[in-house]
Amino acid sequence: MRPQVIFHSFGYLTEAAGVTIAISFAGIALGFLIGAAVCIGRLSGRRWLETLGGVYISVFRGVPLLVQLLFIYYFLATLGLDVPALVAAIGGLGFASGAYQAEILRGALNAIPSGQSEAAVALGYSPLDRWRLILLPQALRLAIPPLINEFILLLKASSLVSVVGIAELTRVSMNIAAMTYRPLEAYVGGGLFYLAINLALAGAGALAERHFGSAR
């Protein structure tokens, strides 16, 4: 073990960690928008929207992320649509994460007893106020732990975007291992960066839970 390898490559690893964070957060944000839309569709009470949402979730949760990325980047190109690497990476992460986040949100909304909604109607709350004041705050609180779980999983899964040529953290660790012929040091270095990022994410989750109050 020669820690100098990690020190020497510290700047390179930091830069790669930045790429991993940027791509993951863009993927998480896109996934949240898609997830919210799909969740609304699934709970809308309209048959065709429910089916559409179900099909979306089945496809993007059922096909490995690696295959989705290869499809977006390489297969669409053979059909004449040249998707840039960054768009393919963020899109791939976002589409897949959207399927998981939709189910997390649906689960959280379903966990609120239906009596609350009925009581709100009986007390004369408008539909907007019912969602804004009663349903969403509680659902969000319930969704925080599984959402943080999903964000951490996504951040680690973002190592797959190297197949479209993006130099993220795992890829750069491999580059360092290849250049120095010292794989152990390179991967320990990369692993420490992942750990630091995910601890920060978990910490942010704990803060958010405290802010919104515990869900009991």
Partner: protein, 281 residues
């Protein structure tokens, strides 16, 4: 190969599909080019790809692309009067990417074989690719290639060098265990860890690895393989581009640029064929 099916699509259905999908994503670039060389000249830029984990040919040194291929392609592009941009892709994505027209030329060193000649257009050789073995520096039991009987040999899956060590052992009547790895760096790591007894790769790669870690690795001389060469690879229908690249490469050999690059990275110079050689394997 995953993308083998793409020939099935007619030009019209391709156009229709791309138009339909073009609406879905903002500003798509249609990947049609009648002549890649003309396209490169027009843009003033050639896009090349390799895996930057193949020292001394392709190295990413703290994010800066270095190595034999980098210096050669820069010189070639200068001859052609264009700029170069480099893509770092995992090896398994490089050839599919070439077929999907994600870039113009693959500058990863590819060993010329009969099988590959049918599918890709090769440049004139850029380096020697003759297969050799590397052992642990303190291993006294292997001193020449014939000593590998009963040993475990590691190498990168699907490479010409791995195929050659199997053929070599068969020909000599030696029994060896072969372990296949996703890439050579894992084979080197297992060699250092003592899980295998030798790694097979091209002589230039091994000589560089042994020079970087002389306390750990040593090359087994002489190389055991048939003389073979590394070339760059283009699409079969990009003959004009390959012709231009070849002309530049031959010129670089004539004016001493190639020898200078070889001296930097291999410590010695080697004469290379001026035409694409008939593959021996």
């Amino acid at each position: 190969m995953i993308f083998e099916g793409n020939r099935r699509f007619s030009r019209r259905s391709v156009l229709k599909a791309s138009l339909a999908m073009g609406g879905a994503l903002a500003a798509p670039r249609l990947a049609f080019a009648d002549d890649t060389l003309a396209e490169i000249k027009k843009k003033g830029e050639m896009v090349v790809a390799t895996e930057m984990q193949f020292p001394p040919f392709d190295i990413s040194d703290n994010g800066v692309y270095k190595g034999v291929d980098r210096e050669l392609i820069d010189a070639v592009a200068k001859e052609m009067g264009v700029k170069v941009s480099y893509l770092d892709l995992p090896w398994t994505s490089v050839l599919p990417g070439l077929e999907a027209k994600k870039f113009d030329l693959c500058i990863a060193p590819v060993t010329i074989t009969k099988e590959r000649m049918k599918r890709y257009a090769f440049s004139v050789p850029i380096a020697d690719a003759t297969a050799a073995l590397m052992k642990r520096a303190d291993d006294k039991s292997i001193n020449k290639p014939e000593d590998i009987g009963g040993k475990t040999i590691g190498g990168q899956k699907g490479t010409a060098q791995l195929a050659q060590i199997k053929a070599y052992a068969d020909g000599k009547g030696l029994k060896i265990d072969v372990k296949e790895y996703v890439d050579n760096n894992q084979s080197y790591a297992d060699l250092a860890a003592g899980r295998i007894d030798a790694s097979v790769n091209s002589l230039p790669n091994l000589a560089y690895a042994a020079a970087q870690r002389p306390d750990t690795f040593a090359v087994v001389l002489p190389p055991f393989g048939q003389p073979t060469y590394f070339s760059w690879v283009g699409r079969l229908d990009d003959k004009t581009l390959l012709d231009a690249v070849n002309a530049a490469l031959v010129k670089l050999e004539g004016d001493g640029t190639m020898a200078k690059i070889q001296k930097t990275w291999f410590g010695q110079t080697t004469d290379l064929p001026k035409t694409v050689p008939e593959p021996t394997i």
